[in-house]
């Protein structure tokens, strides 16, 4: 360009130099020196795990507790709005599980020439409910981030809120179901003893385990969209690897131990033993198998295993989720 300017002209703020019309970036930069690549970047040292946990729980979840509630309310409202089933939906899934289980047990009883006891049906009803909770919460939790992409990419809030509210919405459904089961169980010949109080800590363990899983899977599904299909298949067949239809001792002494490796098994079996068998979960329980041998149906170590699995999964889930949270908007 023919018209060049001196540095002095540029400093006079009210003078318009002609280079503005040409807008040559290299010239019109003025005060800013532009580098072609950034200076060497040192990644921020990560805060200690405890510090991160405090940040997540205190600064994020507590601050956004009302959002969590609103999102859970949204999920619940949508589920019951314009729905033919209404609140019956809450007990449909556990009822189907019990019906399927009754069928399986009847076939097994027929083959062995025995009868199906009503308490076995009660035990299944008690175990079907937490299983339905787990399946429902994981299903919604896995999709909680991808199903709210508009929010994830556009508005800031702690993303933990999404799997958490999905799990809480499922808590509402399962509470309705639990009330129904609590009413039905006495009619199946089961009376409540003090050991039924074990329900409370077991439900807490179940919630922690489920939330931890929902966090991990929700996060994984955001990065890899095929995760939800894998989860669907695993949940569909998971019931055969979890003691819902049957009890672990049906598999013999060794089989029972293998069955109890499933971290959900101590929770489900604990619920059944505490409510139906009036068993104190701090005591071991030995039952006699079909061949007359002794089978260890319960030990307090199972309880410890369930607690540890839930705590590890929840803490791991929260920390891993938090670690990847900052990149969600880019991958979504």
């Amino acid at each position: 360009m023919a018209h060049t300017q001196t540095q002095a002209d540029e400093d006079e703020s009210d003078e318009f130099d002609s280079r503005l019309t040409g807008l040559d970036p290299s010239e019109s930069v003025g005060a800013v020196d532009i580098a072609e690549s950034p200076p060497h970047a040192v990644e921020e040292p990560r805060a200690s795990l405890l510090e991160q946990l405090r940040e997540i729980v205190v600064e994020e979840l507590w601050t956004y507790r009302e959002l969590t509630i609103q999102l859970a309310l949204r999920d619940i409202r949508i589920r019951y709005k314009q729905a033919a089933m209404g609140f019956a939906w809450a007990i449909l899934m556990p009822a189907l599980v019990v019906a399927a289980g009754a069928l399986v047990r009847y076939a097994m009883a027929y083959l062995s020439g025995g009868d199906v006891e009503t308490s076995a049906i009660a035990g299944m009803a008690i175990k079907a409910l937490p299983w339905a909770f787990f399946v429902g919460a994981i299903g919604f939790g896995t999709n909680s981030l991808t199903g709210n992409l508009a929010l994830v990419t556009k508005i800031y809030f702690p993303r933990e809120v999404l799997p958490l509210s999905a799990t809480l919405a499922q808590v509402f459904d399962s509470t309705l179901g639990a009330l129904a089961v609590a009413v039905i169980v006495p009619f199946l010949g089961v009376s409540y003893g003090w050991t039924a109080l074990w329900t409370l800590p077991l439900v807490l363990i179940l919630f922690m385990f489920t939330l931890g899983t929902a966090l991990l899977l929700g996060c994984a599904n955001l990065f890899f969209r095929d995760v939800k299909y894998i989860v669907q298949v695993l949940l569909r067949f998971g019931i055969f690897f979890t003691p819902v239809f049957f009890e672990p001792e049906m598999f013999g002494a060794m089989g029972a131990k293998v069955m109890m490796l499933n971290p959900l098994s101590p929770i489900l079996e604990g619920l059944r033993l505490a409510i139906v068998e009036h068993h104190d979960l701090l005591d071991p329980l030995v039952v006699r198998g079909a061949d007359g041998g002794a089978i260890l149906a319960w030990t307090p170590w199972y309880l410890a295993y369930g607690v540890i699995a839930a705590v590890v999964l929840l803490l791991g889930g929260v920390l891993i989720f938090h670690r990847f949270e900052r990149t969600f908007a880019e991958y979504a």
Partner: protein
Amino acid sequence: MTRAPIEFRQVWKKFHRGELHDSLRDLIPEATRRLLRGRPPLEQLERDEFWALRDVSFQVTPGEALGIIGPNGAGKTTILKLLTKILRPTVGECSVRGRVGALIEVAAGFHPDLTGRENVFLQGAIMGMRQAEIEAKFDQIVDFSGIPQFIDTQVKRYSSGMNARLGFAIAAHLDPDVLLIDEVLAVGDYNFQRKAFGRIEEMARRNIPVVIVSHQLERIAALCTKAILLDAGRVVKRGEPADCIAAYIAGQEVSTTENEGADAELARTVRLDSSRAILSGDRVRLRVAGTVDGLRPDEVADRQIMFTVRELQGGNVLFQTGTQRNDIEFPPSGPFEIALSLQMNVPAGMYGIDTTVWDGHRMKTSFQGPSLTIQVKESIPFRGSVQLNPELRIEAGSPVSSAESAADAGDLAEG
């Protein structure tokens, strides 16, 4: 050292172009490669990566409003996403202090199956409002949206305008420490837009830092105290909104005028004698300085210096004048300076004044001189395309002579 509530320090942001590994199958080779070679350093670009922001720095203090302008893909929205903490900088530092109010995607949290009422609480919570706060402001929000009769209707039955109005109404009742605005100024119909803009102005005047991204340049000019112009992730200009807008528009225009015979006459600079931002009806004064050389006397007779006033947005030519039309001869060889004064009887907005040298013999522009941008601010409210400096008063002897009308007349005289 106290830091500004909004601060961007040498921020670089890296993005991937195209697809990332979207299924587990693609992850495994990638992860193996990373294990073998180690993570690439942050400041280095991998294949398919690019810098969406390069070395962007700015700060906004309370009372300041920063306008961010630039073509699509320049990085404006990325800056806002960094400010709202949705994204984090690859390199550099981005800090925002206090509660962020973002007039961005104001209806993003709406669920179609919920009613307007339910959605107000949901969207409010998403924007970080407390339940009690929403309850307290609920009537104001509904009132502002202008759709109280539909508040218990499911949002899926709303028109898109109603949707946006309700969303904006919620966002407009945030009480933020920092305000971020992204292209929400085009919400609803004409009346609602005016109302919304008034609300934004009101929020921006609360002595809080404001950042605005918009393609509505006259809004930037009206609201902002400073601006940056982005291009391909770089800040190419910073300063007065009017300067940045001028530079932006000049950069956007495809230069069709070749400066043929540019060696003959050079209008070098335009100096503004009056303020860059004037009131409608006031005069803008400027001086053009340059040099004429290499023109034969017969050529000089055909040349004239032209001044063209146009609306920046839309580019309509409003007015043109020149040396010949004012019976002024084209300056002889050597340096010259021409003074021009224009009474800007135009509505509020951004205007460009171009200088050109017109070759009357060949009927074409022989030289494209510099341009400048001025901002005209509203002096009196009016409708129309020209400002006719109205003088209005009620003369004595009007049939209604109550105390009220006398007071009105007094108001008019003061105004």
